[in-house]
């Protein structure tokens, strides 16, 4: 094989997601035409809405922060061959934990609240993932179905708590009272302002740093620890993993708990950083977006970060787009998400073969 072909091959991990994205967007364009709008104009509005100025970029990165958390959550489980669809429920339980903490910790110093919130969000999310994990590990019930059921149960529990228990007295909408300002996660423009750097106000907050750290830690865990090795071994072949002395049940419990903890961290961004109160459905579908983000980012933290920014742009640009083209509601973003999952996940081999054939000669056996 010539060096040129080798070099081109190395580009596949970048070219393939790019091609997949183009294909997903092309399919979405058909939907745009179906509702009677112009796809080219829609794309331009979307890009300007997402990256047009400092404020837009701040919003894009704010959305991306949540998607990094859920993307990492789905990816960690994926490495072990587990499909965690429950990030949505795990994230809302994380929000419950953070809200309870912030309501109680009114007088605490802010750094202490932040540290405690990271722990509480993680523990609540992990606990909600632990039950399906245990059922999969010990009882063989399929984690896909149980995590979906746990999303429904989480929604019921959260509705009950917000409507009947945690609701601010004398108010109609199901939400808690606002937290004390000392428990808020500082927004980046405030921090920058204090340091003398001017920055357009946006909801982007310090949780973006937590997301970056989480990405690095996940990378360490999956590729540079014994636990990560066991996880990947299990994901490739359960029988081989067992033969190597790995106990699948233990690996499943650890991986799913970590996955749930990562999903729980979404609440740092949404509840503690932006809303400053617990709202119903504060996750806004971030759990499901995480599936698309993980698949598009090829389950690697770097790829996940890029895919999260892409989806952040879709959310932010989509909101702007909906103002100009009322026919294209924000549900359009969900359509694009689904198409990305289809093209990047289910149809990943469909484009790889022609691409490989284009670059080299003949198909390649199992490129990884």
């Amino acid at each position: 094989m010539s060096p040129a072909v080798n070099r081109a091959r190395r580009l596949t991990p970048i070219m393939l997601p790019a091609l997949n994205l183009v294909l997903a967007l092309a399919l979405s364009a058909i939907v745009v035409v179906l509702v009677g709008e112009h796809p080219g104009r829609a794309l331009r509005l979307l890009v300007v809405g997402a990256f047009g100025d400092g404020e837009a970029i701040g919003y894009t990165l704010y959305y991306a922060t949540s998607f990094v958390f859920t993307g990492l959550a789905v990816a960690v489980a994926f490495h072990g061959g587990l499909f965690n669809i429950g990030a949505e429920g795990q994230a809302s339980l994380g929000g419950l934990g953070v809200a309870l903490l912030c309501l109680a910790a009114g007088g605490w110093p802010t750094p202490l609240v932040i540290a405690a919130a990271i722990v509480v969000a993680g523990v609540f999310g992990a606990a909600w993932a632990f039950v399906p994990a245990w059922l999969q590990a010990r009882r063989g019930s399929h984690v896909v179905i149980t995590t979906i059921m746990f999303n429904f149960i989480a929604a019921a529990v959260m509705t009950h708590l917000l409507v009947n228990v945690l609701i601010k007295p004398g108010q109609q909408s199901p939400e808690t009272r606002e937290f004390a300002a000392s428990t808020w996660l500082p927004q980046l423009h405030e921090v920058a302002g204090r340091l003398g750097v001017p920055m357009k106000p946006s909801p982007l907050n310090l949780s973006v740093l937590v997301a970056i750290v989480a990405g690095v830690l996940v990378w360490r865990y999956v590729w540079h620890t014994r636990w990560g090795y066991a996880l990947r071994a299990l994901g490739h072949s359960e029988s081989a993993a067992v033969y190597a002395g790995i106990v699948p049940a233990r690996v499943i419990l650890v991986a799913m708990s970590l996955s749930g903890a990562l999903a729980g961290l979404v609440s740092l961004n949404e509840v503690m950083g932006v809303q400053h109160r617990l709202l119903l459905n504060f996750t806004g579908g971030a759990g499901y977006t995480g599936i698309a983000v993980a698949l598009m980012g090829r389950n690697h933290p770097l790829g996940i970060a890029l895919a999260a920014i892409l989806f952040g742009a879709l959310y932010q640009g989509g909101a702007e787009l909906a103002l100009d083209m009322p026919a294209l509601t924000r549900d359009m973003v969900v359509v694009i998400q689904g198409l990305v999952v289809l093209v990047c996940g289910a149809l990943e081999h469909a484009l790889r073969r022609p691409l490989d054939a284009l670059i080299g000669r003949g198909p390649v056996t199992e490129p990884s």
């Binding site: 009882r139 019930s141 059921m149 529990v157 499901y288 549900d331 359009m332 969900v334 289809l342 289910a346």
Partner: protein, 324 residues
């Protein structure tokens, strides 16, 4: 007429009505899963069919055309699933979830753009939906104690699709266990290599299974929007596709036990609707929001507690790659 007897009859009738879409979708999933293709996309196919059926019925005023549109939508999605999983050996769970997510957004976007009612379709009436049918003899049997009540409330008075469902169970059982197609279907799910060796195309059998599943799923969706209700509402499948899948697994991938599991889930749902606001002994009044989660909790409990290690079709979830 005694009060408890009527209550039980009404509960049974609600169970039958609630079970019908689960049974149709569950049997649809049975075809796919018995052929070795995981069918998490039941939910999406159901929702798409519900939307297509309601949209078509709203435009044409015909429930029959609506049902046809629902079936067409579900079959189209089943073919996409087949294209990804059979032709391109894609991950079947991922493909199913992709369909679910796409449909969830697509029905909202199209509904909003076409009907301008926040994602709903216009209210259907008259020939636009399948009305309830009074079976002959309901009047004549009315005087008979017990039987008359049972016949009037539980057997008679449902819409056409409930009776289609009742007929579908033995039909599917016959197809799967007594026909050449059924034998090949089961063989392809257990040992595709052997089927291939016998000179039968694995892909063709699996595609046919997905199309058959799509037809039943389409009816299931149509049931939701143009038989049980009078129009489409956003996310109206509300997890019923997943419940149907759980019922299929709980029923060990067999038609009759799947029917039993669907009846159980539907009973839980009918019971929770009745229990709302009623104090339970020892517990008091359970909040509405929590009691609505009963079917989902039951699903987890059943899958975790009783199924144990259900014997799935051997080749399920594994793409068949012919030797090169």
């Amino acid at each position: 007429m005694s009060e408890p007897a009527l209550l039980i009859a009404l509960l049974a009738a609600a169970t039958v009505r609630g079970a019908a879409p689960l049974v149709l979708a569950g049997l649809g999933g049975l075809f796919a899963e018995r052929s070795g293709i995981v069918d998490v996309g039941l939910e999406g196919k159901m929702l798409a069919a519900a939307f297509a059926a309601a949209a078509m019925a709203a435009v044409t005023g015909s429930a029959w055309l609506g049902a046809a549109a629902g079936i067409a939508a579900a079959v189209a999605l089943a073919l996409v699933h087949g294209f990804a999983c059979i032709t391109h050996h894609g991950n079947q769970v991922v493909s199913g979830m992709a369909l679910n997510i796409t449909v969830s957004g697509l029905t909202a976007v199209l509904g909003n753009a076409w009907f301008h009612q926040g994602g709903q379709t216009p209210l259907l009436g008259g020939a636009g939906r399948f009305a309830s049918i009074q079976l002959p003899g309901a009047g004549a049997l009315a005087g008979v104690p017990g039987l008359g009540l049972l016949y009037r409330e539980v057997v008679s008075g449902h819409n056409l699709l409930v009776y289609v469902t009742a007929a579908a169970v033995p039909l599917v059982a016959w197809l799967v266990y007594r026909t050449r197609f059924g034998l090949r279907l089961r063989a392809v799910g257990e040992s595709p290599g052997a089927v291939d060796t016998a000179g039968i195309s694995v892909a063709a059998v699996r595609y046919r299974a997905l199309v058959a599943g799509g037809v039943l799923c389409g009816l299931s969706g149509a049931y939701l929007s143009i038989a049980h209700s009078a129009g489409f509402i956003r996310e109206m499948s509300a997890g019923k596709g997943y419940l149907a899948l759980a019922a299929l697994i709980f029923g060990g991938w067999r038609p009759l036990p799947t029917l039993g599991a669907c009846l159980l889930f539907a009973f839980a749902d009918a019971a929770q609707a009745r229990l709302q606001g009623t104090p339970l002994p020892g517990v008091g009044v359970v909040p509405v929001q929590l009691i609505q989660a009963l079917p989902y909790v039951l699903t987890v409990a059943l899958l975790g507690g009783f199924v144990g290690r259900a014997v799935a079709p051997r080749a399920i979830g594994v793409p068949y790659v012919k030797e090169r």
